[in-house]
């Protein structure tokens, strides 16, 4: 409502020479001159149209505001409504629709209560790595990206989310990352010095897969703590629901690399719990943005299921999945099931499908439902494959060759305290 926002805005603009503490703002507000509004710092929580990268106006909420020390300008960290948080960005006043503010076509976020509710929902759907936070204020830190971009190898990637780096990186906007040891530094010169001192060219794990120029290395979180912690920090930039609450000890990290004459360049990874209570075969899975859309995500997914097949343990990715994760997994599951069912002559049970693919039965059922392959007819469920050839798939992704995998499941021994 225009009135509400005007009041708040005028209160906010107390910073900027408006006298009086008049609650009855309407009279004071009057009709501000053109251009005055542009000088006003906007209050956090305001929802107004903002220019999106393709030029259209999108409604965005201001999450934070900062002042650029050099120009005196204000920068606003906005979150576009209906968009994923990874697209939040810092914008300056030129991207803001001042006209809409003048005309009052703005809204407010209803205080912090909304946020708290959202967080509680998120908490309940999270898993063992849950945040036990109670104060919303601390959580607000996590809403805003702390690092803008990372430089990994020959790519500069803008980050997507917040990552809880140690305090010495608090004012750093670009991280320079050594792609072999995953150590991150604050300047390019420092990275150069660092890289000159070591000659490591591959991840510090055992290689379990090699085909063409792709290798997968298995790294123990308890042995290579430094590398795995670095990997977690870096991947947190691109994974929203990942938490670094607990340490990396109880995880295996499977790092996928492109190999060339300079070394093994990390392109993606997935982590897996050593002992999973809920039979998760993947904890976090990520392809770095610079290497996305090359089929590596599908490769990692099928690799994780190959390991499950060797272990003979049904597996499923840890929930919640991200949006990109959901799309990839759906696509993979669809392809696996359709390939399997196309060649089936005999009636087959869900249990048997599960044993062959090592997919969890819930995943199988949900995929069949989504594809419309399972129907209920005359008192029993049937697999309706009549339209199976019409199903549209995404790309097959990079194929994983199980014969190139050299891996044995490990028996974990525990030390009693």
């Amino acid at each position: 409502m225009a009135t509400v926002c005007n009041r708040k805005e005028i209160e906010a603009s107390k910073d900027v020479h408006i006298k009086g503490d008049n609650p009855n703002f309407l009279e004071d507000a009057a009709s501000p001159q053109q251009g005055v509004w542009k000088e006003r710092p906007l209050e956090v929580g305001l929802k107004l149209p903002c220019r999106w990268r393709d030029g259209t106006w999108q409604e965005a909420e201001i999450l934070e505001r900062k002042e650029d020390s050099l120009s005196g300008e204000f920068l606003y960290y906005v979150h576009y409504s209906g968009f994923n948080r990874r697209l939040d960005e810092w914008v300056n006043s030129s991207r803001i629709d001042w006209k809409a503010i003048e005309e009052g076509r703005v809204r407010w976020n209803k205080g912090n209560s909304n946020k708290k509710k959202k967080d509680k929902k998120r908490k309940s759907s999270e898993d063992t790595e849950n945040k036990k936070t109670e104060s919303g204020k601390l959580e607000n830190i996590t809403k805003v990206k702390n690092v803008d971009r990372i430089v990994l190898g020959k790519y500069i990637m803008e980050t997507w989310y917040y990552s809880p780096l140690p305090p010495e990186y608090h004012n750093c906007s670009t991280l320079w990352v050594c792609e072999y040891t995953l150590n991150f530094l604050r300047s390019e010169a420092a990275l150069k010095r660092y890289q000159q001192r070591h000659s490591i060219r591959m991840p510090p794990g055992s290689e379990i897969y090699r085909k063409d120029n792709i290798s997968v290395f298995e790294i123990d979180g308890a042995v290579q703590k430094f590398y795995c912690q670095n990997l977690s920090y870096l991947s947190k930039f691109f994974l929203d629901h990942k938490t670094l609450y607990y340490d990396v000890d109880p995880f295996w990290f499977y790092v996928m690399c492109e190999v060339d004459e300079y070394g093994c360049h990390i392109v993606g990874y997935f982590s897996k719990e050593k002992e999973s209570e809920d039979n998760y075969n993947v904890a976090c899975i990520l392809t770095f943005p610079a290497y996305q859309r090359k089929g590596y995500g599908k490769f990692l997914i099928s690799f994780s299921y190959e390991l499950s097949k060797i272990e003979q343990k049904v597996g499923s990715p840890e929930k919640p999945l991200s949006d990109l994760g959901l799309l990839s997994y759906r696509s993979y599951w669809s392809q696996v099931l359709v390939d399997l069912l196309k060649n089936e002559k005999q009636p087959i049970s869900i249990q048997e499908i599960s044993e062959r693919t090592m997919m969890k039965m819930e995943d199988i059922i949900s995929t069949l439902q989504v594809l419309g392959l399972i129907q209920y007819y005359e008192g029993q469920h049937v697999l309706d494959l009549r339209r199976i050839d019409n199903i549209k798939f995404g790309s097959k992704g990079l194929l994983c060759d199980p014969s190139c995998i050299k891996w044995r499941p490990k028996v974990t021994t525990f030390v009693n305290k």
């Binding site: 209906g82 990637m157 660092y194 990396v248 000890d249 087959i348």
Partner: protein
Amino acid sequence: MSRPSFRPRPIDLNRPLQIIRSNKDFPVQEELFSTRGLPAVETGVDPSEQEERHLKEALLASLLKDDRRKHEIEIPIPVVQERKSPIYESQKPYYLPKEYVQEVKKDISSFLVLYEADPIDEEFVTQLNESNEYQLSLSDFEYVMDMLERIQGSEDDFAAYSKMKEGLKSLREIPESLKEKIYQHWFRRRQENGQPLLRILRKPPPVDDPNPSLAFRPRDHEFGAQKGTENTYENYRKAVRMRRDFEKLRMIVEQIVKRERLKREHLSCSIVYSRLVLARSSVKMAALMKQSCMNDNNVLCIYDKGTAGLNGTNIYIPLSGLALPSDIRKAILGGRFISDRSRKSKKRRRSEDTSKRDEEKEEEDRNTSRFDEYGFDEAGQRFIKNMRYFSDGFVGSGVNPYDHRVFEAASLRNTVRYPPWKPHDVRLPDDVPFCSPVACPSSKSTRFRGRLGRGGRIIFDRVVNISHEEVSPLEEENGKLLPFSSNVVSLQDNVTAIPERLRSSKSSPGLLSVDNMWLRWPSKKNGEYLGNGKHASQERERSGYLFIPENLERMKRESHLST
């Protein structure tokens, strides 16, 4: 048509589902199909995220079965740029090894210099370089700071400068004064910071601190350890299964050990045999063989009575290093009977170098002190075999037959004068009811051997001749079929039979005419039992030694055999 109150059964996971491939399979209307039988599809995505526009569009696009949308709906992501400047040119080429790479066992952080200079440090270094001749590079500075940090570690009490000095000794180029200044600088910074400057040395945040900007808290329990060690039925079953598996494994391994030992023994036997053949082939060879025995403690001496040209020589075959079966070894290197006697009277020795038995015996005992499953060595086992006759009776009364006190008592009571295995053949009249010729159809006479049984009883064991089929080609060639028993010397000249073990292949009969008697071995492997079906182990117990020449004469005299 679908009924509104339709409530289908939940899906049965184990039941095979029919597959419909065409309309012919199920000629029904489509309306009867309903997807209401299944629970709502859970996507597993966070609910707030599920509402996002791009995701919804993408999901919708993936479900659309038409080809109108040629391109896939992509979820937009932030920008990725490629660096134009060449960054790899300073790196040397690197190639993966042919084999899959092994893991690095140690945390790589211990190999790396992790300290990063920040603006304060850079200023310090520039100041230092202004006032000093030696120009310290940032890289060296970082190296020194890193070292200082690591020497200090995570401790709160600061280590003395002397300790630091020690650690920095390796850096010789940097003058001492500079090192001191850097140390002071480090000291200052560390104190200001409160905690170690290197991230890896800092303590992890406490477990209960909910601050989301802190990462990597330690777990409060060893993951899975509690689960695996608590006292539940599931864990009990797991333990039982594990024990069963270990039992199986142990048995398999035992069998493997046995097999390998047998292989080795077999090999040793064939080695001895081939050495024998070699020695026999010429005088020179025999001499060479004898020479190689000089340094040997274990020597086999065989008296070769004669082929043309060689009259009554001893052939010496070195035996050290060979793993002969224990029974043959005992026989060669001093069987029970022989070695005892030989110890007592040295007069029995015919030649000095005929198997240095005493040493051999000790050597053997030292070398082959094999303990059986109850912990008895060779001597003990022998003793037990003797004593078993007497102490078995105690078992019924609940006394452990291997109890040493029982042995003592038994040994006092019954001194064995004649070891049970020494055969004394006895001829019994034919009309004695139990010595029927059924069991031994081909024998001319039934031989019996007496032995001292339990409690002083005398037992006659039937001793059967070998059937004709088992006669070695050697004997046949000489035209005389030798009936000889398993345990008794056959004194036919020039003729012997060689036990299976020493015969690695069917040798030409003419080659050997070694006088000494190798006793026929009942080898179960070949399916042979000696005629009367006595248990192989029993035979082995009593047999199994090599007759040394002088004993041969004595046996000749003492036995009643005649052919």
